[in-house]
Assembly symmetry: C2
Homo-oligomer: 251 residues x 2
DNA sequence: GTATATTGTGCGATATACGAACAAATGTCA
DNA sequence: TGACATTTGTTCGTATATCGCACAATATAC
C-alpha cells in the first residue's frame, strides 16, 4: 500500500498517544507495542519522539504523558466556536435550576463533553470537557443518535459494547431503536439511572440556524431529589429555552 | 540529520494540530504551511491524514478539527492520577469557601489547568482542564515558578512575553524575581487583578509525600467582594489544609 | 543461575519528504 | 468585463528517512 496522501508515521504516533488511558497511565515500550499492534521498534521511535518533543517523560523504563499533550485537545476546544458560545448559557442554566448542565457531541459510539457547568457533584466519575460516555445509555447520546438516520444509528449501536451499568440499563438493540423513535418524536430523552444508580438526566438536541443538530444539552440530577418522572416537567422548558436562544447564534 | 530514533513525520503532524487555535479555527493547506513552516505538500499530507483518521473535517478548502482530537488530551487527563486525586478536594474546597478552586501544573511558560471546581463565573474567559494562562501573572504560576531553581525561573521569564493585561500587571523581570522570592518565603502567592480587572486569586504549592512541588492550588474571587488584602486571611488556611491532606496521597 | 521477558541496534526494502513545475482558482486593476 | 498577477492546490521524480525484521544485549523473574 503506497498511499501518497497519507503519513503513516503520523497515524502510528497518534495511535501511540491513544494507548495511554485510565488503566494504562505509564507504559513501557513493549506495552505500547502490544496495545497498538505496532512493531516494537516503531513504538519505541514514536515514544522517543514524544519524549524528545516534551509530550512525554521517560525514566528509562516507562513513558508517561506530560501536560503538554493537552495542547492538542485544547487546539480543538479553543478553535471550535461551539464550546465558547454554549458555555455562558450552561452557566446560567445550571445556576437557575441548581443542577449540572452540559453540552456534548458524538464521536463514534461515544458522547464527548465539550462544555459543562457543574453544581455539586452527583456522579461518581468526574465529567469535564473531553470526557466520554457511551452514547446508548446517556441522555445526550440518545438525543444525538435519534437525530441521525435510523440505519446509521443502528450501525453505531451495533458497534457499541452494550454493557449494563445498572440493573436499569437498556442493552437490547431493538428496544434501544424503539427508544430512539420515542426520543425523536417527543424531542427529548430522559435517562433513569441507566448509567449510574442515583443519577437521572434529561437532554434535548441543539440545532443550528439551519436546523441541523450540532450538539445536545442536558441537565443531570440526583434521583433522590428529582425522580425521573419529574425531570421533564421541571427541566424541559429551561433546556428548550436555551436551545431556542442558541439556535440563532449557531451558524 | 538522520536521527534514527525520531519520527519526523509524527512531529510534523503534531505541529499541524497545534497550528489550530483560538484565532485559527479553520485553516486551508497554505495557512497551515505558513503557520508551521512546513512545505505545502507536507502540510497537505498531514492534514489529509488527520481527515482520513477522523481527527479533522475537510470541505475541499478548509480543515477543521473534530472532537475526536479530544481523545489525545483525554489520554493525559484520564491517565494521570493527579487530576483525579485532586478533583474531589477542589469540589469540597470550592463549596466551603463559595469561590472557584483550581489545580494546575506548568508547561513551559504557561500554567495548565488540570482540575477545577467552579462557582459562579467571575472571569471573562472560561477556564477548564487544558486551559492555559501565562505563568508570570497568575497566582499558580508564581507559586510554580517560585518552586523551581532561581535561574530556571529567570530563564522561563525571559522566554515569556511579559504583556500587561491590566494597569497592575507586573512585567519587569527583576521585580518579578523579587516577587518570586517573597512567594517562596511566605509559601503562597496573591494576585491582585494583574490578569483581569476585578479578579483576585491566591495560590499555594502542592507537594507530594517526598516534598517535591507537583502542582499548585488556587482560589479565585471577585475583587469587589474580597479585596486582595483579605485573600490570605480568608483562604490561606483552607488551601494549606487541602495541600496538607493531599501531600500524603501523592506519590 | 538459568529462564524469560524486555529493550537496543544494524540492515535491506520500502515509503515518505522535498522542491519544482504545473494546474486551478482567486483577486486585482484598468 | 477582460487580462494579468497572485495565491493555492496537486502531481511527480528522486534523494532520503523510516519500517520491520532478526539478532544482540540487557534487565527481571523464578
Amino acid at each position: 500500500m503506497q498511499e501518497t496522501d497519507f503519513v503513516s508515521g503520523f497515524a502510528r504516533g497518534l495511535k501511540v498517544i491513544e494507548a495511554f488511558g485510565e488503566t494504562t497511565p505509564k507504559l513501557a515500550i513493549a506495552d505500547v507495542a502490544k496495545l497498538t499492534g505496532l512493531d516494537r521498534a516503531t513504538a519505541r521511535r514514536c515514544l522517543l519522539t514524544l519524549a524528545e518533543l516534551g509530550y512525554a517523560d521517560y525514566d528509562g523504563k516507562f513513558f508517561v504523558l506530560t501536560p503538554k499533550i493537552l495542547r492538542l485537545g485544547h487546539a480543538y476546544l479553543s478553535a471550535t466556536p461551539l464550546p465558547h458560545v454554549v458555555q455562558p448559557f450552561l452557566d446560567k442554566l445550571s445556576e437557575e435550576v441548581h443542577q449540572s448542565a452540559s453540552a456534548s457531541v458524538l464521536d463514534g459510539t461515544e458522547v464527548v463533553y465539550i462544555a459543562r457547568a457543574s453544581q455539586k457533584r452527583v456522579m461518581s466519575i468526574n465529567l469535564m470537557p473531553g470526557s466520554r460516555l457511551p452514547a446508548y445509555c446517556a441522555s445526550m447520546g440518545r438525543v444525538l443518535l435519534a437525530a441521525m438516520p435510523e440505519d446509521e444509528a443502528r450501525t453505531l449501536l451495533k458497534q457499541s459494547v452494550l454493557k449494563a451499568f445498572t440493573p436499569g440499563t437498556k442493552t437490547d438493540p431493538a428496544l434501544l431503536m424503539e427508544e430512539l423513535s420515542r426520543v425523536r418524536e417527543q424531542g427529548y430523552a430522559v435517562i433513569d439511572q441507566e448509567l449510574e444508580l442515583g443519577l437521572c438526566s434529561i437532554a434535548v438536541p441543539l440545532e443550528n440556524d439551519r436546523g441541523r443538530v450540532v450538539a445536545a444539552l442536558n441537565i443531570g440530577a440526583p434521583a433522590a431529589s428529582v425522580p425521573a418522572s419529574e425531570m421533564a416537567e421541571r427541566y424541559l422548558d429551561p433546556l428548550k429555552g436555551v436551545a431556542r436562544l442558541l439556535k440563532s447564534l449557531l451558524r
